[in-house]
């Protein structure tokens, strides 16, 4: 069984995601509209996404190896013809230390493998160093947008960058080369011992 799986978001997931929308870090790092809406309005919004908005917006549930809900990812601004979308994700607080990066990777894989997205747009507010360090964010950012969002009482700067099919292929090739190099070193070491 794979470490992380992506499945469609269902009505049963609504209460868990509602709770996450109300969490402090979520509001600072993504958006704080949940503070101005009641539970029913939030639930209705998500139900509408499940049933009506397939062509512009999709919600997914990220699950761990035992099927437990680890977090959510969602795509917006979907351009099916150009095969581009913007990806967002939020991991439940108790899974943040271990699962965050895997969740992002699994979401990217699903979007490319099955939904045939070519270009995935990432947006991270510059103070948010939960997944990437400030230096990494700075290195990734193709665009820095000041006064991008207003969350929890302050204006926030956002870093935007795209990940294309070529980027993914290059990264995979680099990883393969690195693994090969390690394997070669180990093999050479073993031969040196005998």
């Amino acid at each position: 069984m794979p470490f992380m799986t992506v499945r469609h978001f269902t009505e049963a997931d609504i209460p868990v995601r509602t709770e996450l929308l109300r969490e402090n870090k979520y509001q600072t790092n993504l958006n704080d509209f949940a503070m101005s809406a009641d539970d029913r309005a939030l639930a209705e919004g998500m139900a509408r996404t499940i049933s009506e908005q397939h062509h512009t917006k999709r919600l997914f549930t990220m699950c761990g190896s035992k099927g437990q809900v680890v977090g959510f990812s969602w795509i917006t601004s979907i351009d099916w013809r150009s095969q581009a979308c913007e990806l967002s994700f939020a991991v439940l607080p108790r899974y943040r230390s271990g699962f965050g990066f895997k969740a992002v990777e699994a979401a990217h894989e699903y979007l490319r493998e099955q939904l045939h997205m070519d270009v995935i747009i990432n947006q991270v507010l510059s103070h948010n160093t939960m997944m990437l360090s400030a230096d990494e964010l700075e290195a990734n950012a193709q665009i820095r947008a000041e006064y991008d969002s207003y969350t929890v009482g302050r204006w926030r700067t956002a870093c935007y960058w795209t990940v294309t099919r070529d980027d993914v292929r290059d990264r995979k090739l680099r990883e393969q080369a690195r693994r090969q190099e390690i394997a070669d070193r180990v093999r050479a070491g073993v031969q040196g011992l005998s």
Binding site: H8, F9, T10, S51, R58
Partner: protein, 148 residues
């Protein structure tokens, strides 16, 4: 003769999802890329009906341009549930021809061949799945050659 049982839309969607990879491309649907609500809406717009026969799911959607023709699909290589579906369509819908569009490599293709369908063409690179384009095979069957 194998009995087939008509499924309500909600049950049909649940069965499609439970069928895993064999339901991908079933009447053009795909539980991996479509959520339950979208599958339900697609089934409705196709005017499709699904039936179960044991573990196998079969279904049809009428061809609006040719009322004596139906698009048919199956999740298994077993020709018997398919024969039962064709019998139903011939008897109650007066169908004379059937079209199946089967993603290359799925086992349902064997069921259509065993049932007397003729492979008439290939739609090259017709759908995207598992990081690759996939050909779709087009099968045509006729009531006089396909029914047991």
């Amino acid at each position: 003769m194998t009995e087939i049982q008509r499924l309500d839309p909600a049950v049909a969607v649940a069965e499609l999802r439970a069928s895993g990879d064999s339901a991908r491309g079933f009447l053009g649907l795909d539980p991996v890329t479509q959520n339950d609500s979208l599958l339900t809406q697609e089934l409705e717009s196709l005017q499709a009906q699904l039936f179960s026969a044991g573990e196998t799911l079969v279904g049809f959607a009428p061809n609006a341009d040719q009322p004596r023709q139906a698009y048919v699909a199956s999740t298994s290589a077993d020709p018997e549930p398919l024969r039962a579906l064709l019998e139903f369509l011939a008897t109650y819908q007066r169908c004379t021809t059937f079209v199946a569009m089967v993603p290359d490599g799925v086992e349902a293709a064997q069921g259509f061949a065993a049932c007397g369908f003729e492979r008439v063409g290939v739609l090259p690179r017709h759908r995207w799945q598992n990081y690759d384009w996939q050909d779709v095979l087009v099968y045509v069957g006729r009531t006089d050659t396909c029914r047991s």
